[in-house]
Structure formats: structure tokens, C-alpha cells
Homo-oligomer: 435 residues x 4
């Protein structure tokens, strides 16, 4: 279907509820979308366990990845009016946007912590290894796949392109804020993306924003702030995440201990092998994980069984706020009490902490240093966003952290056995909360 210039004979469009239409004009992009590695993203949700809180949030990374591509396509279209670059750079940009999440596994957040996988690493392997994605990219030249991987890995020499896909205001974030707000139904994630794209100007190694568009950028920062605390760190979602993570821990422990599973969890076992192949990694998707969890609802091991039933049927842990300083005082007693009533505290008494830094200016030398957002002033100079915006200044560099203690309240309320211990547990938990 292609033409010598790499353009499709007829533009393809995808109907998209967020950007209305996603336009594909390059054969390269069309073929990347068709690869098995990219299609797999249909089986990995964008927001992990958020659907237990916001039932609308059932969209996948496939959905989001197309969106990031589309935002990038519009960015490039706008930037091309202000600068020139060669056709190759444009395609590197678009491919990187499309593929930036290709290495994500199922419920990445928990999986990575438990099994030590790293989605950024897998993204690179899938792009440069023996995959359909690599085969398509390689048709563009021998170095092309490498360049795409470098953009995603932030080591690409053209820092402007890197910043379009990973900075404090990039195609990835713009898409996910809009998209996650759309699917959850919350009103927080809206900002005027069209305006932000219009006031974007290329400047050596980053994109900057005309001062006249500052308020749209402010609005974007505030959306980000609100989405983190209203959606991404929602305590109920975190409860499901806590249980998920405990399931994985338990399964790992059982596998290591030679526990006789009714069906050998071969797919999980591959995660321990030194040489997990791309082919095996690719098989890991959320259908597979849910398949196993469903099977495990009938396992002998009471902890694995209980946790899987909780996860599948949404019988979540409850939580109390938790002040880490006070916590130390009651922690030993709490753990002891849990053990006494037969609940292993490493599975049933879990602290989860979330923290977010909504915007930061440059702090040289710090790990995780973040490129600040710059405004282009009428006189041509640049000014860091928080110097111009009171609101952004107010939240700039301020890390907010929240600790919660999760536990199965139903088990504490259930029976009369250990009534004394249970009462004491609840008292300690409430003391915690009352702080």
C-alpha cells in the first residue's frame, strides 16, 4: 500500500474519543501499529487497578499509545512551521511517541517491584531486539531502531526531541491527563492542549512556551496536580495495588519454596530465569495474570487463595491514615497482635506511601533532576515558569507524601474468637488515625 516516499496512498484514521481522530500518513507508523508487540498493549490496562475505583478506567496502553503518537504528530506539525529538520527526525519522533510504552508488562507498578523487571529496559530490548517492531523499524535504515530507543531512553543527541516525549510537559503526559480524565469521568484533567501546542516554540534543546500561553500551561500543571491526588493515588486503588503486590510476593515465595501448584505457573517462573527471553516477556499480559489469579482462588495455600479471592472479587483492605513517626511506637505491638490472631503481618498489615512533586525547577546535581518549563518572554528571553506564575510557584518543589496503613477489616470484625486482640488492634489503628 505504500509509495516511494513512505506515505500511505490513503491516510488512515482511527476514531478516538479524546482527540476525535488519529491520523496516520506514514507507512512506518501504520506497520508498527500492526506488530504483535504493539497489539499486545491492548491487553495491558493504562491505569492498572484504577478500574476498581473508577469503573470507566478500562482503557489500555494501546489506546494511550495511539494518543501520544497523535499529540506528537500535532506537535511536529506545529513545530515544522517554525523550524526545519529532516524527514528522518520527524519519523524518529513519531515512532518514539508510539512505542514509548511498548515495554510495559501487566500491572507494571507491582510487577516491577516484586520481580525486578524494568519496563524501560524492556522497551529498549523490544525496539532493538528480534521482534516485529524491530523488523519494521530496520527497514528505515540500520541505525533507525537505535535512534528511536535513544529518544525514549533520553540519550538521543537531539535534546529537543527528547523533551517532546519526556519532560515536565510532553506528549505522553498531555495525552494521559486528558485520556485518564475522559475515561474516569472526572472533570480535573482538562486543559487547553490546542493552545499549548500553538504557543510552543523550539529552542535549541527544548520546547518553550510563549508567555501569552502561560495560563494554559498553569492549567495543565494544576490538572496534573489534581489527577495525581484524585485519581492516581486514590486510596481504594492503592488498596487493590497492595493486594496485587502481596499476591505476587506470595507466589514468588511459594515458587521458590517448591510449593506444589495445581497447575505449574510456567509463565511466572520464566520471570526468575536469568535469561527471560523477549518472546516469554511478550506473553505476559493482564489476561494471563487474571487467568492465574482465578486459578489460584482454589489453591491450597490459604494466603494466596485469600488474596486472589479478594483481588478478583474486590474485597479490598481498609485503611487508616498513618503518621510514620507515631507508627514506630505501635508497630511492634500491632504486628505481634496480627500474628497472634493468625494473620501474617507481611501480607495483612501493609503501609503504602505515595508522594508527588507536581512541578519542579532545576536543582543541579540532584538525582532525578527535572528540566524546568520555560516561558518565552516578549523580549525573546526565557523565564522559568514558577517565576511568572504565582500558582505554580506555590506548589513548585513541594513534595507531598501520604502514608496509609492497609489491613483486612472484615477479618477483624468477623468472628468472636480473639475478641480481645481484635479490639486492641482496632484501638491502635484508630489511635493512629486520630493523629
Amino acid at each position: 500500500m505504500g509509495r516511494p516516499d513512505g506515505q500511505l496512498v490513503e491516510e488512515k484514521v482511527f476514531k478516538d474519543p479524546v482527540h476525535r481522530y488519529i491520523h496516520v500518513r506514514d507507512e512506518l507508523i501504520w506497520e508498527l501499529i500492526g506488530t504483535r508487540e504493539f497489539q499486545r498493549l491492548r491487553r495491558i490496562r493504562q491505569l492498572g487497578t484504577t478500574y476498581v475505583t473508577f469503573h470507566g478506567a478500562e482503557h489500555t496502553r494501546f489506546n494511550h499509545s495511539l494518543g501520544v503518537y497523535e499529540v506528537m504528530r500535532r506537535m511536529v506539525e506545529n513545530l515544522e512551521k517554525k523550524m526545519t529538520w529532516d524527514e528522518d527526525e520527524r519519523l524518529v519522533c513519531l515512532a518514539a511517541a508510539l512505542l514509548h510504552d511498548i515495554g510495559h508488562g501487566p500491572f507494571s507498578h507491582s510487577f516491577e517491584k516484586v520481580f525486578g523487571t524494568d519496563h524501560e529496559d524492556w522497551t529498549r530490548r523490544i525496539i532493538t531486539g528480534d521482534t516485529e517492531v524491530n523488523a519494521v523499524l530496520s527497514r528505515m535504515g540500520s541505525r533507525f531502531a537505535e535512534r528511536v530507543a535513544d529518544v525514549i531512553g533520553k540519550t538521543y543527541e537531539n535534546k529537543l526531541i527528547v523533551s517532546l516525549i519526556s519532560s515536565q510537559i510532553d506528549a505522553d503526559r498531555m495525552d494521559y491527563l486528558l485520556r485518564d480524565a475522559f475515561y474516569t469521568g472526572v472533570s480535573y484533567g482538562n486543559f487547553d492542549m490546542e493552545r499549548i501546542l500553538r504557543v510552543m516554540r523550539p529552542q535549541e534543546d527544548q520546547a518553550v512556551f510563549k508567555l501569552s500561553g502561560m495560563h494554559a500551561v498553569e492549567d495543565y500543571i494544576m490538572s496534573r496536580y489534581q489527577m495525581y491526588w484524585q485519581v492516581y493515588f486514590h486510596p481504594v486503588t492503592r488498596s487493590a495495588e497492595v493486594i496485587l503486590s502481596r499476591i505476587l510476593h506470595r507466589a514468588r515465595e511459594l515458587m521458590r519454596g517448591g510449593y506444589p501448584f495445581r497447575q505449574e505457573p510456567v509463565h511466572f517462573q520464566s520471570l526468575f530465569s536469568e535469561t527471560l527471553s523477549i518472546r516469554d516477556y511478550i506473553r505476559l499480559d493482564e489476561s494471563l495474570v487474571l487467568y492465574y489469579f482465578q486459578e489460584w482462588e482454589d489453591e491450597e495455600d490459604p494466603i494466596l487463595r485469600d488474596l486472589c479471592r479478594r483481588f478478583m472479587n474486590r474485597h479490598l483492605f481498609k485503611y487508616v491514615e498513618c503518621d510514620p513517626s507515631k507508627q514506630m511506637l505501635i508497630w511492634p505491638e500491632l504486628q505481634e497482635l496480627f500474628r497472634k490472631i493468625g494473620l501474617d503481618p507481611s501480607y495483612y498489615l501493609i503501609i503504602d506511601s505515595s508522594s508527588d512533586l507536581p512541578y519542579d525547577f532545576y536543582r543541579p546535581g540532584e538525582k532525578d533532576e527535572r528540566l524546568p518549563i520555560h516561558l518565552l518572554m516578549p523580549d525573546g528571553s526565557l523565564s522559568e515558569l514558577s517565576r511568572q506564575s504565582d500558582i505554580v510557584e506555590a506548589i513548585s518543589g513541594k513534595k507531598r507524601t501520604d502514608h496509609k496503613l492497609y489491613y483486612p477489616r472484615d477479618l477483624l470484625e468477623d468472628q468472636s474468637e480473639y475478641a480481645e486482640e481484635k479490639r486492641r488492634i482496632l484501638t491502635l489503628l484508630h489511635a493512629q488515625e486520630g493523629s
Copy 2:
């Protein structure tokens, strides 16, 4: 958390992108949502394979079921201003709305055809059988579950309630049109539901609509018409459905023939047993189906393997329009040619037909007779919708049917072997199309 009157101490709300909020005030409803049978609906997509065409359509039956409940809740709230009924009837109504899809299995459309399951039958079994849903319903009295099942089965004595959940304009359809339009991103499914609810009036055994709201009803009928042909019968979606159905056929054949699967497909085998238990049925969800399909990508059997790879990686069949009258002439030759080049026509040459009757008035004595929509005239009389509306009259009772012939074009284009036969096949297919 309950009170003696069955109301929750504090109303619960779900954020919903379509209806903004879903309000739950009754303990009964809250507890039904928490059952394992209802939570399972999170693992069954609302639109089956539609996501291959409209990537936004990843929402599940859980999502939709909450929506139908909410529409019903608003209907009841409106109707209660015009009539009185006892509290029990209200709860029967709401529970029936929430549970109307509880018996759906994964990709129901194809599964039911191949395995002869019937989701309506399973809905009844889940409501009245040994399930968490039944346990919750039974707390309302011994006959309560039965009544809910009767409403869904359309045998309930109060026909007004039946009509609210299954008629040509009911809570189910109103929710799915709005919801499917929202998630696919198409603009067709919108109509003014608020106005329709406001002009609804209870009349003995049905709800009727004040004449002043006729145009909102017209708009609803047109939305339905457009959604069927634009979304539900989209030819690409049907291609995925065709492949899915062929996979199931092949698996059934192999299981019957004693084919040695690498992993025994126990969950599928239960479908053949005479006494498929509720417990086994409940396990069947789309995660499980996709898990198997992924496994089967590596099976020995070339047909099963090929079809599963196609389904998982979206290598779909192409199609040509198909005129059933002409088709008979070329069919024997086409089938013969397919066999010649090594493609079993029962898996690789498939006709799929879709047809829709957007609205119909009453035709007594016909199977599948449909209750017409009635307008309440200013003088108090009733008038059937198509008598008042030119547009509805135009499409009333007109069944539109569409036939398409699906086949794997890639296999015909691939190699040079059988070049002659392949050319002839393409010629025949195009002749078909050109008609």
C-alpha cells in the same frame, strides 16, 4: 452499614463518564454490586470484538450494567411523581436493571452460536441458583429473586416494569447507545435522554411518551439506526468475530476428536458436559479465553494456530460484498479452489450476514413481535410513533440485511505457488463485489 429501611446510611456514588454520577441508596443494590458474579462482568467486554475497530471500546458489561441501573433509577424517580407502587416493586425494578446481563459469557455472540449456551438462561440460573447474587436477593424475601428473574425473562405480571427494561425504548438500550457512542468516540449515539425521561408516562402495561417529546424519541430511534450500521455491524469488527467463531469451532472439533492439546483445555471442556455448573460457567471470562488463545498460538494444529495468531495480533480477514443470489453460482468453484490451494473453506471462506430492524410497530402473531412505542396525545389518546413521525415511518418495519464474504487475502497474495488458482479466486471475488 444498613438501616432498618434498607437505605444506606450514606448514599454511595460512582463517578461515571456517561451519566456523571451513579447513585446508590439501597443496601440491596450496593451488596449486589459486591457479589463475585457481578464483579466478574468486569472481565467481559460490552462490545466483544469491537475494540479491534474502535480502540476506545474497551468498556465492560460491569460498566454498562451500572449505567442501566442508573437510567432505571432515574426512570423510577420520574415515574413515582405520576404513580404509586410499593417499595418492593421499585427494588425489583432496580435489581433487574442491574442484573439483566449477569448471565453473559465471554464474547457471547460467538460462544452461544458454537456451544449452544444461552445467556438469558444463565441469567435466570445465576439469579435463582446457588450464588452470592441469590443470597443477597433472598434476604428481601423468598419470592424476590424469582420476581427479578421474571422481569428479565419478560414473564413478570407487571408489564410496565418489563417494558422499562426490555422494549424498543428501555433503560438497557438508552444506556448502551449513549455509552457505546461515548467510548467509541462516534457522534451518532447522542440523544436527549433527560427529555425522554421527563415526557415518559406510565400507562397500564407500558410507558408512553408525551407528544411534545416526540422529537427526542425520533432522535433516539435514529441514534439506534446509526449505531447499528456504523458501529455494531462494522465490517472489520465482524471480521474479528468471524475468526473468533472459527477458533471456537476448530477447538470444539479438536476436543471432540481427541486432539492432544499441550495444555488440556479443561475450562472449555466443561462446556460440553451435560451438567455445566454455575461455578464452572462463572469462571468463563475473557481473560481465560485470551489466555487459551495465546497458548494455542503455539499449538501443532495449523488451523487453530493460524486463527489464534490472527485474532491475537489483528491479522484479520478481508471481505467483499456478497450477493446471495449470485453467490450460489460461484460458490462451488470457489470452495473447490480454496481446497485446491490448501485452505479449508469451512474456516477460510465465510459468509457473514447482519440485519437490523430499527423500529417496528406491532404485527400480531409474528414471532418476535415487538411492542410499539406509543405517544400520549394532548387529548389523552395514544398514537403509535410511526403514525406521527415521518422519519420513523420511513424506516419502520424495514429490515436491512447485509452479506459479506470473508477470506484471508494475505494468503492469496503471498506466494507464487498456485498462482493460477489464486488469480481465479480473486477474479471470482471481485465479480461478486462488482455486482
Copy 3:
């Protein structure tokens, strides 16, 4: 601010609630917007008296004209991918879209009927006469203004351009359906304009639409149909229109009869002069009309005074449906009764008829023949829309007409004087309605 190529140094944008942004890149367009004749459109409402029914509909022709320009700009952008034409044609197109309503006066509908003005005629005069608009256009060359006027007048030789601005699916209609739906708040006027523009293809003397976009076009036709009967012909709006028209009639009669107005209505008198100048015409806007109506609330003449008070304070006439065939029978008696109770029937007993032909195919030789909408079939042939679409076929060529009889019910209910006559009047009116 201009450049030699006629482009603005920096693109100007207007925030628009319907199209999000309106983009102006050509100096010509920017300067036309700044003329006094165009700015005057801010004082003429887009929907005349519709605001009495839909309070949101307070938008003006200025608002709509910018919208039509923007739709045309997007059309041209799309068409330019498929064809080439010279830069001049593009600017003629855009200017014609922007200026197509420039000749409208206040409450045109009623004014034109009473005073015989013709907005199309005035559009031509403003474009080609001694105006700021003409001065701006003339900078583009001596024939340019003439060409713009010819496009609007449908006599331009390039019929494709004419069809973009006046056909059954043109920039004007697309904007007003979307815009009027937005401001009134009704849900009917929505259709997928983006898709329609994408499937538009230039074909000699008209734009046609790819078959794959047929449903979007259907949706547009249905929107049009619904908007006519739900919004444009709303009976309450027509009541205000009836009163407005009666005020103008009365004022004309009084002016002709030499009635001594408290303030000489000089602006209205100019309408009678043989040589109404552009300058005088331009002054007529809705502020001026409302100023006079407010003054006339205190005039001596009881009819003018009463009608103005009704219009300004929304004390409208009531209506009954009216069957023209029966009407003849009761008309003489009704008029007689009105006269008897002191109400001049030429002001207080008014029949208003509305009729609409939502879509029509070509009927050669008929007055007012309308160019049909053509679909571009996959084989390259054209097919008239109603041949492909059941729904459009159903309403094609069917003129729907509605007659209503307006009268001041309050005056009939008020006092006890003439009780007998009033009762008889109400009886006759209801007889009418009951038909």
C-alpha cells in the same frame, strides 16, 4: 502588519465556543473583520426572535459569520490536498464566506416582508458600493469585489466555489446548525463535521462526498430536519415574529397616514424613500429597532402601543393549530367577532405558516431547484444521496407545512364585557384546534 504575500506576520486567532479557534492568516480577512459594516453584524442577532423561546440564543450574525469563514477555511484546506487552484480563488472563497450575510438587517425576516428590502441585494450593494468593505476588497484588484459578490449571488463561473457556500450542504448551513444547537442548548444539531470535510471531494462544479462518509451526511440532514421543527419553527418564536411583523405594519401605516409620532421615526422613514442609501441602511440595527419599540410603548396609538409592550415584555399571542380547509368556514365569523369586541383582526388574528423541505433531489425546470448531494462511489461514479440512504429517501422532496392561528388570549379572558362574543370566539378557536 502585512507581508508582501498578504499573510499576517503572526496568525490571529479568535476563541470560538463552536469551532474552538478561528484562524486568520490573511491580511485581507483580518481587515474585512475590522470594517464598520462587518462590526455592525454584532448588533443583529443570528436567530431573530428565537431568544424569547431559547434564552441562550443571543448570538449574532457576527458570531456566525466568523464561523462560516472558519468552516470554509477548513474546507479549502482539505480540498487543496486534492486539487489546485490559484491563490486568488482561495481568497474569493474565504471573503465570500465571511461576507455572505453582510446585507442582513435587523429581524430580517419580518423587515423584508413589510418593507420590501432584500438582504441579498444589500449584500451585493455593500460589497460593490462605497463602503469600507469594498475599499478593503478593492486592494486585491479591480474585479475582486465583483467576484466575491458573484459567489454569494451564485452567478460566479466557478460553480464548485458557489456550491461550497450555497448548496444543500455548505459552509453556511454546517456552521449555523452546529452554532444554533450550541447556543440554544438543544442536542439535535450535532453531526460530525470533521468527517464530512474529510470525505469531501471536488468534482468539476460541485463538492461530492465519498460513500464511506454517507452516514455523517445522513446525520447532517437529520440535524437539519430536527433543527427546523424544534428550533427555527418553534411556535412561541413565531408568536414573537407575528407581533414584530404587526408592529412594523402598524408603524408603516401610521407613517403613511401622517400620524404625529412623539419622536419622528426618521430611521424608519428612510426605508420608504426611493433612494435609501447604504449609509442609512447600515444604521439599521437591532439596538435602533428596540430603541424605537421602547419609545412606542408610550405612543398614543393604542395598537402600536399594545403591540410594542407585548414584544418588549414578552406578552405573546397564544395559538391554535389551524386547518386551512376548515378555516374558511369560520374565518368570516371570527373576524367579525374580533371587530365587534374592538380588536382589529389584521393585527390580532393572524395565521402564520411554516414549511420546510429538508432535502430534495433535482427537479429540473422547477423554480427554486436545488442541487442534490452526490456520493462518490468506490468505482468513481456519482450517486444521488437519496438513492443510497433509506432515511434521506424517506424525507426527500416531502414538504411539511404547518399553519397556526395567533391571537391575544389574555384580551379574551380579561373582562366581562362582551362575554358572549368572547365565549363564541373561544369555541370557534377550539373547534379549529380539535380538528
Copy 4:
């Protein structure tokens, strides 16, 4: 149409683009809407001269007043679930919401400054004086009108009701933020009103908000902040306002000086009389103002003529930022230069300052003290918003002020006469701006 209980036989609804529907169930409200004083609000724009910047902002105070009523109706509906009050209080509330702007005149902002009118004072006079509004209110009892006026005047004894209509988060503000965002088309003004209403709780003399809804309240505060600087204080709008205000000044001066107007401006002259009657005040609407301005485009006085032409045809003043400290240095010279080239600086060199305090906590003893927003904590205590919200804390009590200097740049660029002076003026202005 009424019933003994004051309810309408059939609820009336208005289609509203912001709240979808406005529901009227009380005869009182329906009749208030029908009064001439309320209908007059159709001729007074909600946002004054904002339409010159945002062409969509053509909505009127009629439109907004219905919206405030609807928000209040929903507030009351929600509050009634938590508290009881007598029917009378409910109606006082609704009537106050509907009528809170009834005293506004045309372009109030400028008019009040120049002519010393006070819309709050006129609101009281219209409600309690000899008007149709008062006649309708008085049917509810002799004290009823007084009570409505007291609510609006903030002297009503039930402070909870006062706070619903005038506090930092009230029905008035909620409607105007949503409505003005809708009509201008900006994305800033959106917040989740439904959620705010749901978490509202009555507490003695104010409404407070449950902590769980804090983020929706934050979002509201941010919307307010953004709307002020993006829309309400837009520099182009202020330019139109500056000119409008100069026109009124000039007209007043000329009237005082006995200038012979071509048409005696009787309506304006009434503004000077000691005893401006309600009847005369009511006549002042924006149609009348625009009528006069159009007439004055042809007046002899060059300043009045020039300013009116500017206003009517949108030939606005340009502006430079202005630092009040530096300004003193150059001011005398600038004024001198303006006089030299024949421009009276009191009409052609104007400083306009805007300032906003987006949110404030209580500062007892200060003029204009504002009631803070309180959150209802889980333990039942109250906590002031800025103590809980970082973002609100950041902007709390911080007044932001902006000064701009407006002048007619076109006149400085025009001719060659006084070239030297004009150059010097531009230099001084730019010096100003560069600061």
C-alpha cells in the same frame, strides 16, 4: 395556572445550554420571570464589553439570572435532605437568586463610575418599589418583598441563606463561572458543580463543604482565578471599557455645558436629576445606549464623535504595561506632549488598573471582609479551606494588581505632522513598557 399550594399545574422548563434544563415549579418564580423589569435583563449583556474580545460572550443578565436561580434550586433541593425550613424561606431564597441582578443597568461598570448610580441600591428599589416585580412578590405577604431585598442586601437574619447567594462560593459565582466559560469558549471555568452541591452541608449561618469534596472546591477557586485574568480583565476588553467610560464622561461634560446635541439626550439627562424614577431607570438598557452612541458618531463635538466611532466600530486604544512608580516621572511630559499634538489627555491617555483577590480568609475589622470557606472535617469540626489546601493557601489573601496605559496608537502613527513629538511619545511609552 396556579394551584392552592403555589405550585404550577405543570412544571415549566427552559432549555439551558449550561445546566441543560431550568426547572420552574413555583408560580411565584414563573410570574417574576414574566415581569417587565425582569424581561428588561434580556437587553443588558452579562459581560459588558467582553464581546469585543470573545465574540461568543453575547449572553445577557437574563440568561445568567435564570442560571443562578437554577443553581439555587438545586442547592435548596440538596440542603433540604439535611435540614428543614419552612416553605417561605425556600421561596425567599429562590426569588432572591432570580432577582439578585435586577438593578443592573447597561454597562454597569462604567455607568456607575460616571453617573454615581448603584445597582445594589436599584435592586432594592425595584424589589420594594412600585413595580411589576413588587406586585408579584407582595402576593406572598406584606413582608415578603422586603425579605427578598434583605437577602440580596446581606442584611437578612438567616445568614445561611445570605451565604448561598453571596459568599466566596455561592450560586451567583458558580453560575457565572460556568456560563461565561461556556459562552466565551475558554476551558478555564469548568469545575464539578454537581459534586460541590453534593458535599455542601448547612451549618448555622453558612454552608460548609465535606472534606472529601475539597478538591472540587479547589478546582472552583482555580477556575475563578483563571477566569479573572484570562477573561474578565482581558486587556482588550478593558480598552473598550476605557473608551466607553470616556464617552460617558464626555457626554456628561457636554450636557452640563449646554452643548446643543442634534437630538436631545433626554434619557441620559434623567440620570442627573435628583429624582430619577424607577420608570426612567428601567428604560436604560444597552439598546438605548447603542442607539445614542450611533447617533453621536455624527455629532459636531470631535471628541464625542471620535470616541463613539471607535466604540461602535471597534477601533480600540492600544496599551502598554505601566509601572505606577516610574509613571510619575514621565507623566507630566507625556500629558504635555499629548496636549501639544491636540489630544486631550483626559480622553486619550488613560490608566486602567485591575486587581483581584482570588480567595481570602477572614480578616476581622477590615472593610470588605470576606467570609472564608469552611471544610467539614470527618470529626465534625470545621477547618478553613486554605489550611487544608496548599494551592488555595498559595493564593490566599494575595492581591494581584495590574496597571495599563491606554492610548490611540493609530493617531500617533497617522500623519507626519508633529513627527518629533509623536516619536518622543512612543519612546516614553516604550520606556514604560520595558520596565
